[in-house]
């Protein structure tokens, strides 16, 4: 036990929990890992050129930066104001009320389940085949590409592996995450490196060498024949609209709020870490997008995206139509092919693990709040892992995968992005009203949170700009008929219902708890501090 002066301003004594705190750089590393440049670029170029023909994707990534900046600012300021809480669930609960907090969290969890299902689909249908091909299992790769049932068949063992990893305990999860991250990062760097140190002529040569003379131009011509075209009149608008995809890729780096309690000088460090992550991420996304256009060629990238979304089999490409599958044309070096292909496969698996963590953690929180059955929070006696929550999450992901494969889920998913924007608007409103509704917390917050610009706190400004940004994203998602193919009222209502259903669900659970004995309104009852 030791007492000491830590600055000229005050004295502290050593006590449990007073750890040497994380530097901004530690925090940055943990936050930056969530941004996934390689996968983000592959996803953006898989859909944006088709949905927004003629749009300039690198420019869209640049236009999205201010919006991402204000989202980052909102997260950094909320994190500094409530460092021990972490996450929009608590921010919304405290600023608006617990019902809205639950609705936001419920929808966010559903979105993660849907995203995990899509990632399983990506893993099976897009990334596994090139990886198998690169290590010589060409028959297996071909079976995956040509067999429509392969995705579902392979999803089950993939989910079982996930459940086994989680059932082995948190240390096993962390080790798996770390290993996969390293493999993923190396693969992405090599992929970008090939593009950086080579050129379009080399790619065309490699492509034609495998696919046949003039195949590169033939594919572009085939897309044009099939109806792909760009109009100068819509090019500018489509560049702006493509920010929807850019925002999706810029998400995640703000999540450092979940461990903000350990950050040294959280008011400054959270801001530094978030903004550095965003800065480096933006440079890599914008630079990567320009590299892709330079290396593959804009017409080729657009043609591939168009054909993949209209008649995927027509391209005749052996390992699928995604930029990550193009590695066989990018280099003849088998080691490089393997490093890049296995890197992309590891990327998807690396993302699935934190997604699973988020789902199970939220289920735990609901169970502790009595909003879900207690058995969800039960842990295995031997490994102390959340077996029930993990199995439940895996089953839900599988159900979402079946929906993805058997329905026009892409329209549904893009609508989901629109509803996600509605949720973003709720969080923005929470930021705008927080300084006034929770004056007690706001007035004790670090000076940076209380800092004002033109008479309004910075948090309010960040809320206003994030609200505008999310409003634009929501507007694009709901009003542009080309997004996700076709936006129907059925898919729109079904995705909105995920958010809306949280309200009656909460009411029903509330009634059940009350009938059992305890008044659930006491859970968040404000106690007077007098």
């Amino acid at each position: 036990m030791a007492e000491k002066a830590v600055s000229k301003g005050f004295f502290v004594r050593d006590a449990t929990g007073l750890v040497r705190e994380l530097s901004w750089f530690d925090t940055f590393l943990a936050g930056f890992g969530i941004l996934n440049v390689g996968l983000g670029l592959v996803q953006a170029f898989a859909y944006a050129p088709f949905v927004f023909p003629g749009g300039n994707i690198p420019i869209a990534f640049i236009i999205a930066i201010p919006g991402a900046f204000f989202l980052g600012l909102l997260n950094a300021l909320f994190t500094a104001a409530m460092p021990r809480s972490g996450g929009d669930y608590v921010w919304v609960s405290r600023s608006i009320n617990p019902l809205w907090g639950f609705a936001v969290n419920f929808f966010a969890t559903f979105s993660v389940i849907a995203a995990a299902a899509v990632n399983i689909w990506y893993f099976d249908s897009i990334f596994l085949a090139p990886a198998l091909h690169s290590i010589g299992l060409k028959g297996a790769a071909s079976w995956i590409i040509t067999n429509p049932a392969a995705t579902l068949i392979l999803a089950i063992p993939a989910l079982i592996i996930l459940v086994v990893i989680f059932s082995s305990g948190l240390q096993a999860v962390r080790k798996a995450m770390l290993g996969l991250f390293i493999v993923s990062a190396v693969g992405t760097l090599f992929w970008l490196g090939i593009m950086l140190f080579s050129n379009n002529a080399a790619f065309v040569n490699g492509f034609n060498g495998i696919m046949g003379a003039h195949a590169y131009q033939g594919l572009i011509d085939a897309a044009k024949t099939a109806g792909f075209g760009t109009s100068a009149a819509t090019g500018g608008r489509n560049t702006f609209y493509a920010i929807v995809y850019a925002f999706q890729m810029y998400s995640g780096f703000q999540m450092i709020g979940y461990f903000a309690g350990e950050i040294k000088r959280v008011n400054k460090s959270a801001m530094q870490a978030i903004m550095t992550s965003l800065g480096i991420g933006a440079v890599m996304f914008v630079g990567g997008a320009f590299l892709i256009l330079k290396y593959f060629g804009k017409d080729f990238v657009s043609a591939i995206s168009f054909l993949n979304n209209t008649s995927p089999a027509s391209t005749g490409l052996p390992l699928g139509n995604y930029l990550s599958s193009m590695v066989i044309f990018m280099t003849s070096n088998p080691i490089l092919r393997a490093v890049v292909s296995i890197g992309f496969m590891a990327t998807i698996l690396w993302i699935l693990l934190p997604q699973m963590l988020i789902i199970t953690r939220n289920m735990f929180a609901w169970s502790f709040d009595r909003l879900m059955p207690q058995w969800l929070a039960k842990v295995n006696d031997r490994t102390h892992s959340p077996v029930n929550a993990t199995i439940t999450a895996a089953v839900l992901i599988l159900i979402m995968l079946v929906i993805t494969l058997t329905t026009s889920f892409w329209a549904y998913l893009v609508n989901l992005a629109g509803v996600g924007a509605v949720v973003g608007i709720v969080v923005s409103i929470a930021a705008i009203i927080f300084p006034y509704r929770r004056r007690d917390i706001f007035e004790k917050a670090p000076s940076i949170v209380q800092k004002k610009l033109l008479g309004l706190p910075l948090l309010v400004w960040s809320g206003i700009f994030t609200l505008l940004t999310q409003g634009v994203v929501g507007f694009i998602c709901f009003t542009v008929p080309s997004i996700g193919g076709a936006v129907s009222w059925v898919s729109l209502l079904s995705s909105l219902s995920v958010f809306i259903v949280a309200f009656p669900l909460y009411a029903i659970i509330y009634a059940i708890i009350k009938k059992r004995g305890m008044d659930p309104s006491l859970a968040y009852k404000e106690l007077p501090p007098e």
Binding site: G9, F10, E526, P528
Partner: protein, 316 residues
């Protein structure tokens, strides 16, 4: 409603805001018994240094202040409410405290015991008239001297190492001691010593299965004890996957719960591990702590006919 309602909170670390909320929880939650699980004293002294012409200067919330003595009371209240100890001093004494850890230790002891004594007086004023029972066990971070303050309290009881009778119906054993921590805190011991301490109490309980085990330290690897793993320099281990978490609870506590299967386990110590779990038939709770934000996390438990009828984790 039949049975008794217990409100349990813990680890408020000097936050007077949280302590006052704790006292008000009795009426707000209609609780018959209030239990504070330990670590009630703070970690921070803010020296208010006397200057010229009746001014005091100090640092608070990242800003330097210089105010007249007449304005000081408001700031002192702010500091206390947030979990700090305001301490009026001179430039000479401050300089001494910066150089002499033993002198600083004495000042800490003085402000902490004075604060606890004031809190116990306040608790008696608020709770006695409403016949709300109150039990506060000092935790591993509370210095031994604070125990003296309880001896003069006419209402609040310190059940450390004893058997308390809640509403003359439920037996409760309690200890604020924890297993060893990297901070060498005032009340910590080896696991086998902690086991002996617990066993000594359990042997005096009439029916352990109907008793409450109020142990500050949570059971090992239970989900109530997950904290950041720290390295030898007391820095959290982190990396590309975030902060590494590990179990830090007590095997002695865990073994006693598994062996005796009490009605209820009340725990704290690990602020970030808010949870309610079952170990066998025992409900074990750690309500967590957000004292630094002035938020009182707690757990409301309804006991009826020697069973846990229901519970609710609260955030007030």
């Amino acid at each position: 409603m039949p049975g008794i309602h217990i409100f349990f909170a813990t680890d408020i670390h000097g936050s007077e805001t949280c302590f006052r909320k704790f006292l008000n929880a009795g009426i707000a939650y209609k609780a018959d018994v209030l239990i504070m699980g330990g670590d009630m004293t703070g970690k921070l002294i803010v020296p208010l240094v006397a200057g010229a012409k009746g001014t005091f200067h100090f640092e608070w919330l990242g800003a330097a202040h210089e105010v007249m003595e007449s304005e000081l009371a408001d700031y002192e209240k702010q500091i206390r409410m947030a979990g700090g100890y305001p301490y009026r001093t001179t430039p000479e004494e401050k300089q001494l405290l910066e150089k002499d850890p033993q002198a600083l230790k004495r000042v800490f002891a003085k402000v902490m015991t004075a604060s606890v004594a004031q809190w116990l007086t306040l608790a008696e004023e608020r709770l006695k008239k409403n016949r709300i029972e109150c039990y506060i066990t000092p935790g591993n971070d509370d210095i031994l001297q604070v125990d003296e303050a309880f001896q003069s309290s006419g209402w609040v009881k310190n059940p450390e190492g004893q058997i308390a009778q809640l509403k003359d119906e439920y037996e409760m054993i309690a200890t604020g001691y924890s297993n060893l921590t990297p901070w060498n805190s005032p009340r910590e011991m080896e696991e086998d010593q902690l086991k002996e301490r617990i066993e000594a109490m359990v042997q005096k309980v009439k029916d352990p299965k109907k008793a409450i085990f109020n142990f500050h330290c949570p059971p090992f690897d239970s989900g109530l004890d997950t904290a950041p793993r720290i390295d030898r320099t007391l820095k959290p281990v982190t990396g590309i996957t975030g902060v590494e978490m590990t179990a830090v609870g007590s095997t002695a506590v865990s073994d006693s719960i598994k062996r005796y299967q009490p009605l209820l386990g009340l725990h704290g110590h690990v602020h970030e591990s808010r949870a309610a779990i079952k170990i066998g038939s025992t409900l074990c709770v750690n309500p967590g702590s957000e004292y630094s934000e002035g938020i009182l996390r707690g757990c409301l438990i309804w006991l009826e006919k020697k069973k846990v009828r229901d519970y609710l984790l609260t955030c007030g």
